[in-house]
Every structure is written in structure tokens, then in C-alpha cells.
């Protein structure tokens, strides 16, 4: 058996001229032919690349095959192509010089945009003015918030409430904390439309605030609002 062992090609073995009718595989030299086509098995590769580096006859054979390939593929023949072992060695050397594949991605430092220093950064009075303005703004807001907040006792501030409370003869009526008997302030009045229950306090309130209801700002005022601005004298 003259078969070529993988990884150990017979150096200098040049096969006999082709016999067209044979279909024998693993003839000596078929591996080299398969090698230049890149159709060799990976496990056979090292042995043949090594053999190419050692044997001039194999390199010549490889050159001949490549010239044939160049011509048949439509190109002009070139004798200057590097043999496979030299070319692969060159690629390997470059890859060893710059190993990148399978390397963990290098964390990229995130550049946070930093605002450039202001032109008046060195002038202290600008900072002082800005600080005073900020303090004034905070105080103004605080004043407004504290002024409208409920008192610590939980009661209602008297100022706003006084305007809303009805008064008789300039004196405020009883506050909301004083219970008022509804029956004591209501009067049953017989009118042409029938008996009407009128509230004395409501009558007084309307008498004091009748200027607000003289004319509605609305285009079509509601009926009950117009009724509430009638003269204070009870309709009899």
C-alpha cells in the first residue's frame, strides 16, 4: 500500500502521470492538490504545510497547480504567488502580533461631557449676587407657603374667614363653631305663589351683597342666581 499517511507526506514524491480510467483515492499527491483547493481535512493541514516548507519539489508542484488554476479561472499565470505555507505563516505572524479575536471587549471609558468654566468664573461678586438672589427666592417662596398654611392649633386663620362671615351692624355674626338653630332664623311667609320659607340670615347676606348680583357676566345667567339677587324686602 502506497497510501500517504496524514501529517506525513512522502517528501519529494511526485506521482506518475495520470491514468484517466482510474478512480482510486488517496493517490500520492492528491492531498497537495486538495490542499491548494482548501479542501484538505483540517487534521492533515499541519503535516502538509510543514512538508511544503521542507520540500522544494512539493513547492514546485504547488506552483504548477496554481498556474493551471490561474489560467483556467481566466487570469494570467503568476509565478510570484506565495506558497500556502509561507502565506499562512505570514497571516499567523500578523495575527500573533495583534490578537483580537476572543478577547474580551475592552471597556470604553465613558466621557462625561463637562461644561467649560464660565468666563466670569473667577469674579467672586457674581457668585455672591447669585447666592443672594437664590436666598431671596427661597425666602419669598417660604413666606408664601408659611403664610397660607394652617396654624399649629388646627384652627382656621381669622383673616380670610372674616370677609366671608356675615355681619349685622358691622359686628360679625356667630362663627361656624357656634351652633345655630335653623328654626330660629327661618320665617314662614305666605306669598301669592304660596308659603315660602325664608331665612333671616340669608336675607341679611343678600342685602349686604346685592351689588354683586346686579347683572350676570354670563350671557345666559342661570335662573336661581337671578332669583337670589331680588330686592331684600320679602315678597308679600
Amino acid at each position: 500500500m502506497n497510501a500517504v499517511q496524514p501529517n506525513q507526506p512522502p517528501p519529494g514524491t511526485r506521482p506518475a502521470p495520470a491514468s484517466p480510467n482510474r478512480t482510486v483515492v488517496n493517490e500520492p499527491g492528491t492531498e497537495l492538490s486538495a490542499l491548494i483547493d482548501g479542501e484538505l481535512d483540517v487534521h492533515e493541514l499541519d503535516g502538509w504545510l510543514h512538508a511544503l516548507g521542507q520540500e522544494e519539489t512539493l513547492r514546485v508542484q504547488c506552483r504548477d497547480y496554481r498556474v493551471i488554476s490561474d489560467v483556467l479561472s481566466g487570469g494570467s499565470p503568476s509565478l510570484r504567488s506565495e506558497p500556502p505555507h509561507a502565506f499562512v505563516a505570514g497571516v499567523r505572524a500578523r495575527l500573533l502580533a495583534e490578537p483580537v479575536l476572543d478577547a474580551a471587549p475592552t471597556p470604553v471609558a465613558v466621557q462625561v461631557p463637562v461644561r467649560a468654566a464660565a468666563a466670569n468664573d473667577a469674579v467672586f461678586r457674581w457668585k455672591m449676587v447669585a447666592g443672594v438672589a437664590s436666598l431671596a427666592a427661597v425666602m419669598a417662596v417660604s413666606w408664601g407657603v408659611l403664610g397660607s398654611a394652617p396654624s399649629s392649633s388646627g384652627g382656621v386663620q381669622p383673616g380670610p374667614q372674616l370677609a366671608l362671615m356675615p355681619s349685622v351692624g358691622g359686628a360679625p355674626l356667630a362663627g361656624p363653631t357656634q351652633p345655630v338653630d335653623p328654626a330660629a332664623t327661618t320665617v314662614l311667609v305666605n306669598t301669592a305663589q304660596g308659603p315660602v320659607l325664608r331665612d333671616v340670615r340669608l336675607e341679611q347676606l343678600l342685602a349686604e351683597h346685592r351689588q354683586y348680583g346686579g347683572m350676570s357676566a354670563l350671557q345666559m345667567p342661570a335662573g336661581f342666581l337671578r332669583d337670589a339677587t331680588y330686592p331684600a324686602e320679602p315678597q308679600r
Partner: protein, 214 residues
């Protein structure tokens, strides 16, 4: 010698996609096989773009280095050579730009980097390149090409078919085996014997040209 296809039949060559996967898995030999498989095609492509033939191996190697770095980005949507072709073109263009910045390089050494595989045929471009070779080199090239074609015509049908499908159609051994309905080992053997038969015819001419620049 006996016909021992059962025991000594070569293993089915890996496809490009499988070699890529094996490379990504850490098997560097798989990438070496890809390099060998496409070395000449890449060199021929670059040779059409860069007239200085001394630059071709360097750019071709750089192409494979770039391909190796970017191999994880190859998703297999396109054929590997299509992907590699684009890297080779970009690498050659970059090299051309660097050469243009180099005042020591003559403009005549540069060729348009805009050549595309689809825009002009390889024969036309090679003819352009051949125009700049010496007359002796052109004559030798034509003689060798004629001898190769004559030897091809003289081959038996099965050998001629196998080598034609391989070299002219660019088919892999597996594809040829399917097309010819025969084992891969037979394809491998036929291609080898076809090359040997042609090599016998052109070897004297090649040996005369050894050492010459062409």
C-alpha cells in the same frame, strides 16, 4: 494500488460556514484552511486593483487578518467569499489611499481602486495588467495559457469535467461530487490527475520562467 474508497476515502471537507464556526470555537487550523482556500482568489482580486505586484501578498495577508478580526460578525447570510471579497476590496482601497499619500510612489503604480467584480471582467483587467508586463513575459504567459488549454482539451471527459467545474465554475469538491454523482474521493482524485496531466505539458515552460519577474 488498490481501490480503497471504503477505508481510505478522505473525509468530507468542511464547508466555509463550518470552518468559520470552528475558528470561532478556537481552532486556528480551520482558519488556516480558509486562508489557503481563498488565497489565490483574493490575490487575483487585489492584483486587479494594485498594479505593484509586490504589494499583492501584503494586502492579501492584511485582508485575512481583518477577516479574522471580524469573523464573529460573519453571520452566514452571504457566502463567505462574498464577505471576504468586500474586506479585500476595502483593504486594497485603503492601501491605495496610503500609497497616494506617499510621495515616493509613482502614480503609474496605482490603478483605479473603484474596479468592481461586476463592472469589468477578470480577463479584461488581466489583459490591462499584462499590457504593462515585458513582451517576453506576455509571450510566455500566452504560451503557457495555450498549453494549459490544449492539455485541458486532451483530457478524458471525466477529468476535464472535474477540473472545469472546479477551476472555471469555482465549485467545491462536495458540489462537484453531487453534480457528477460520484464520491468526493473520486472528485479529488480526478482533479489531481487532471492537474498532473496538464502539469506535465507546461512544466518545461514554467521551469524556464522560474526566477523571472512576470
Amino acid at each position: 494500488m488498490t481501490t480503497t474508497e471504503d477505508h481510505l476515502a478522505p473525509p468530507t471537507p468542511d464547508s466555509d460556514a463550518m470552518l468559520v464556526q470552528r475558528t470561532l470555537a478556537g481552532e486556528s487550523r480551520a482558519f488556516d484552511l480558509l486562508v489557503i482556500r481563498y488565497q489565490r482568489r483574493v490575490e487575483r482580486l487585489i492584483g486587479r486593483m494594485v498594479r505593484d505586484v509586490d504589494l499583492v501578498p501584503d494586502i492579501a495577508q492584511e485582508t485575512f487578518v481583518r477577516a479574522y478580526r471580524a469573523l464573529a460578525q460573519f453571520r452566514g447570510d452571504a457566502q463567505f467569499y462574498t464577505w471576504l471579497y468586500r474586506i479585500a476590496v476595502n483593504t486594497a482601497k485603503k492601501q491605495l489611499l496610503e500609497l497616494k499619500r506617499d510621495p515616493l510612489v509613482f502614480q503609474s503604480q496605482l490603478q483605479s481602486g473603484e474596479d468592481d467584480e461586476t463592472s469589468s471582467s477578470e480577463r479584461e483587467l488581466n489583459a490591462q495588467v499584462a499590457d504593462e508586463e515585458t513582451p517576453e513575459a506576455v509571450l510566455a504567459s500566452k504560451e503557457i495559457a495555450a498549453a494549459v488549454n490544449a492539455a485541458l482539451e486532451a483530457l478524458p471527459e471525466e477529468l476535464r469535467m472535474a477540473i472545469t467545474l472546479r477551476e472555471m465554475e469555482g465549485m467545491s469538491y462536495e458540489e462537484i461530487a453531487q453534480a457528477l454523482d460520484c464520491p468526493i474521493g473520486t472528485v479529488r482524485s480526478r482533479i489531481f490527475r487532471a492537474r498532473e496531466a496538464i502539469s506535465v505539458r507546461i512544466k518545461p515552460m514554467l521551469d524556464r520562467q522560474s526566477g523571472k519577474r512576470w
